[in-house]
Amino acid sequence: MLTTRPFTYAAPTTIADAVALIDTGGPGTKFLAGGTTLYDLMKLGVETPAAVVDLGRIPELAIVDTTGDQLVIGAGARMCDVAEDPVLLHDYPALAESLSLAASQQLRTMATVGGNLLQRTRCAYFRAGAPFACNKRDPGSGCAAREGIDRVHAVLGVSDSCIATYAGDWAVALLAFDALVDVVGPGGERTLPVADLHREPGDTPQIEHTLAPNELIVRIRVPPTDTGRASTYLKIRDRESYAFALASAAVGLAVDGDVVRNARIALGGVATRPWRARAAEESLIDAPVTADTARRAGRIAFADARPGRHNGYKIELGARTVANALLIAAQRSVR
């Protein structure tokens, strides 16, 4: 279905006004950043907000400061700009790569790093609307994917009601570095770890994150880490550009002499939310990164995987992706 229902539109210039507008805009009012998720889903009839509050004219949201101890990245900064930030490129290659390997240059020019965090799944049954049952789109209707074409669906964090993959890359890389998200709502500001932003589907797959509808993401902060430099975001997909991950791994290492002191592994394309692989990380501590330890870490990362009908390959693919990413990161630790 291709539709365009009428909606009202406001473009405030301050954060305070944006929060006020979302509160008075009535139920279903949505923030709008680059629109590459929101407008897309509105045209498909999956999102039907009565009003949108455009964040594009709020200068404060676009502030990026990567010169200090921690990285500060405004939610309204564009993906294409952040991907080319020299500090990210040099000191946090996993972050830069997660952005530059996402979508296309055209999309990255429109899309913001804040909107990116809240992008929605690419599950075709979710996007296509009728006639497909989808608990995420229409709670209680069932899940067409579970007995259907689940080739791109998740193997980690799945539930009986939903197996949709969290499709984004950026949040995966942020998760590896324990990033924080500053949000503001009618009650003021609060900070939450990006690890607490997304939810597993459980039996409420329609609730994807922990923000209230009237909470605005102001900025993302990445605290100092010794795993930034020797990091990578390895993304495996169906074509060599412009596709979502079938499996991806954000990996960061701190290596002392030969042995790993600190390891960060987060997975994309295989789980219902950005997925931290802590047991795999721990398996590497005090060990050298070799083809064997890397492969073992990869296997550990997928120990709890639950394959469906056509996505079982993601377990092996994901494990190898983790292993390869570890080897790339280890190489970067000796440069």
């Binding site: 075709a124 497909f132 495996i236 074509r239």
Partner: protein, 725 residues
């Protein structure tokens, strides 16, 4: 002429000056949008349009209740003009998911789309079968259900006995998925009535079919219908015939008394137009121990719809690819609950070549022969099916020159034997392809003015393949005039009849007609048959300001009635068998793939393609055609497949984010070369078809390269990560 001509419309295209169908905005235009069925098969029992009608700006909602106004245009492959015989909105029957059940027309496209989404239907659903293996499909022997003489099975010698006797045998099954052509320009029609005369602007490859089909559907005189398709944003077979949306726009425009534009969005295009059907091939090859082919048996099951029989035509090509003395080709049609499938670039030849040329590679390995040598050893100058000579056949030259340019001699035969330092596996693969040479009757009208302008009106359609450039180049080469003094008018039914442009006969049919018209012009101006011409002087010499001539050409052996058929809107395709020869274009593709050591991603890193398309009519657009064909082959082999959920029918990945076509990063350096030997028989200019043969054989060359790299045979397309992990 020293410099090949650049595309004559390149500048206008880049500047956005070219008018495609939907670019037309006549005054008072209203906009349509379709509501489509959400069940895979059954009946609409109730349809509620009240919410749709309540949307501000909505002017009209058409549903099956209004069906009386419309007739079927008939299926194009059964004497009609439509891509399928089923015309939506004529009754309550639902044949497939995505079938239109209502048309909404409004003042704006947004209101129309919004209202279409609000059309509520209740259905009575029936069980459906959408893939080749589903319960409930109907399997038919093509030879028994399609009139004799059309798309016949092939039976040469005694293939079964010769296969049984052969010391080396290959027996493999190959699967090809449904695919969608996805031309960039969406399907769209702008219908305008002026009194009882209808004008339709629409991108099509077959303005005749649109014109004659609409006349049938609307019950009006064909003289009252004009169709204009000066440019199409890609066709690839998708626009081969009259599509179902056009008459709906025309009916709505007639009812409303205003022009109506109907643009069909991408997701609906996956269901409202034809697609390449799924096919399964069993190929058996029998050979001597040194690889001389003795027998081949090629059996195919191909999907069609419940309501039409889209003919399979796989064995026409495979039976001619080599000099195989015993060949049996057998084709079956499998009725499924889909819209009628149809032609898509190298429609049957791509899947056929995938199956057959992978099997040939298996034979090369079974006999221990180099795959190029094996192919050369089985070459032939005679069509083994008809016993007549090929009009021209330079497949061996394609293979030899390609091998040379590619550096094939450095290949080691053993799979997995070529590696880079980092462990990356390298595979080199080769495959041949052929595509039937066909031609259609064509009318060309030429006008010269004393301001030096030459205007050409000819039957043919510009789909980006470069027919305009080839026509201008022909005129420039012949008369020695400047390119910018030549005007070309194609795709206009008011000018000359517009036969379907497809099957790579477009240029090979239009250019001979233009050539004959040029000769006629020279005669009328008392000029010698060749040499540069001063048109002003020549016109002055006979005391005229302008002159107009016309030429009609037919394919070799075609009777004069072919022109009448053309004028009546019927198809008149000749080839590949002609009275004294058989015509095919040929190609050889050489491919290098790299397969990553651990994750096994396949990257096509190099392609060399050498084509025998007769004389090259326009070097720039010809090279671009071949590059495009190779990219299509990469897509068909490694990326593209239309996904079908058997519970729901229709196609699931119905947009360009999920239907994976190659992106630039998937495309390597493609070296293109031409044998460039004029074909002495097919037409006066010596040109054969090019657009489709370019794609034939790319997929098997890649699959064979993947085998060479990994030692694994891949017999199912597309080859994806999970298949090689």
């Amino acid at each position: 002429m020293s410099q090949p001509l650049a595309r004559v419309d390149a500048f206008d295209k880049v500047m956005g000056a070219v008018q495609f169908g939907a670019d037309r905005v006549p005054p008072g235009l209203a906009h349509g949008a379709l509501a489509v069925a959400t069940i895979g098969r059954g009946r609409v029992v109730r349809i509620d349009t009240s919410a749709a009608e309540a949307v501000p700006g909505v002017r009209l909602v058409l549903t099956p209740r209004d069906g009386g106004e419309l007739a079927s245009a008939g299926f194009v492959m059964a004497g009609g003009h439509g891509f399928q015989s089923l015309q939506p909105l004529t009754d309550d029957h639902v044949a497939y998911r995505g079938q239109p059940i209502a048309l909404v027309v409004a003042d704006t496209p947004h209101a129309a789309a919004e209202a279409a989404a609000l059309v509520q239907a209740e259905y009575e659903a029936e069980p459906l079968s959408v893939d080749l293996d589903a319960d409930g499909v109907e399997v038919l022997d093509q030879a028994a259900v399609i009139p004799a003489g059309f798309f016949p099975d092939v039976d040469v010698g005694d293939a079964d006995a010769a296969f049984a006797r052969s010391p080396v045998r290959v027996d493999s099954v190959f699967d090809c998925p449904p695919q969608h052509a996805c031309p960039m320009e969406l399907m769209a029609a702008v219908a305008e009535w002026n009194g009882d005369t209808l004008t339709v602007h629409e991108a099509t490859q077959n303005a005749n079919a649109v014109r004659f089909g609409l006349a049938t559907q609307l019950g009006i005189d064909v003289e009252r219908v004009r169709v204009l398709s000066p440019y199409a944003g890609g066709g690839f077979g998708n626009r081969n015939s009259l599509q179902a949306h056009t008459c709906l726009a025309a009916v709505a425009a007639r009812r409303l008394g205003r022009p109506v534009k109907l643009v069909v969005p991408r997701s609906q295009m996956f269901h409202d137009a034809s697609f390449r059907p799924a096919s399964r091939h069993r190929v058996r090859l029998g050979a001597t121990v040194d690889g001389r082919l003795q027998a081949a048996i090629h059996e195919v099951d191909q999907q069609t719809s419940r309501h039409d029989l889209f003919p399979a035509n796989y064995v026409e090509m495979t039976s001619r690819l080599y000099g195989i003395p015993n060949f049996r080709g057998h084709q079956r049609l499998v009725r499924t609950d889909v819209q009628t499938p149809g032609y898509m670039r190298a429609p049957h030849e791509h899947p056929a070549a995938f199956a057959f040329e992978c099997a040939i590679d298996e034979l090369a390995y079974a006999t221990g022969r180099d795959p190029v040598d094996l192919r050369l050893a089985n070459d032939t100058g005679t069509d083994p099916v008809s016993g007549r000579p090929f009009s021209s056949r330079h497949l061996a030259a394609c293979l030899r020159r390609g091998a040379e340019r590619f550096g094939w001699a450095n290949r080691t035969l053993e799979p997995g034997s070529m590696r880079l330092a980092d462990g990356t596996l390298v595979g080199w693969g080769v495959a041949a392809g052929a595509y039937p040479g066909s031609a259609v009757p064509t009318v060309a009208r030429l006008r010269a003015d004393d301001d030096g302008t030459v205007s050409v009106q000819v039957g043919g359609h510009e789909m980006g393949q470069g027919i305009r450039t080839a026509i201008v180049e022909t005129v420039v080469r012949d008369l020695g005039v400047a390119a910018d003094s030549v005007r070309v008018d194609v795709g206009d039914t008011a000018a000359v009849p517009q036969h379907l442009t497809a099957g790579s006969w477009g240029t090979a049919s239009a250019l001979p007609a233009v050539h004959d018209a040029l000769q006629e012009l020279r005669r009328s101006l008392d000029l010698p048959p060749t040499g540069a011409v001063d048109l002003r002087a020549a016109l002055a010499a006979i005391g005229r300001a302008d002159i107009e001539v016309q030429a009609e050409t037919r394919a070799p052996g075609q009777p004069p009635e072919a022109i009448d058929r053309l004028r009546r809107g019927a198809m008149a395709i000749a080839g590949p068998e002609f009275p004294t020869f058989t015509a095919f274009s040929f190609v050889a593709h050489f491919v290098e793939v790299r397969v990553e050591p651990t994750i096994h991603r396949i990257h096509v890193s190099r392609v060399v393609s050498v084509v025998d398309c007769g004389r090259v009519a326009s070097p720039v657009t010809a090279a671009s055609q071949v590059g495009g064909g190779v990219i299509w082959g990469i897509g068909a082999c490694l990326r593209e497949g239309s996904e079908v959920d058997p519970r729901y029918g229709g196609f699931l990945n119905a947009d360009l984010a999920e239907y994976l076509i190659p992106v630039n990063a998937d495309v390597p350096r493609i070296e293109v070369d031409f044998v460039d030997e004029p074909d002495p028989h097919l037409n006066a200019l010596g040109v054969k078809g090019l657009g489709e043969v370019a794609m034939v054989g790319v997929a098997p060359a890649i699959a064979n390269a993947v085998f060479h790299a990994t030692g694994q045979r891949q017999r199912r397309l597309p080859i994806r990560l999970e298949n090689v992990l």
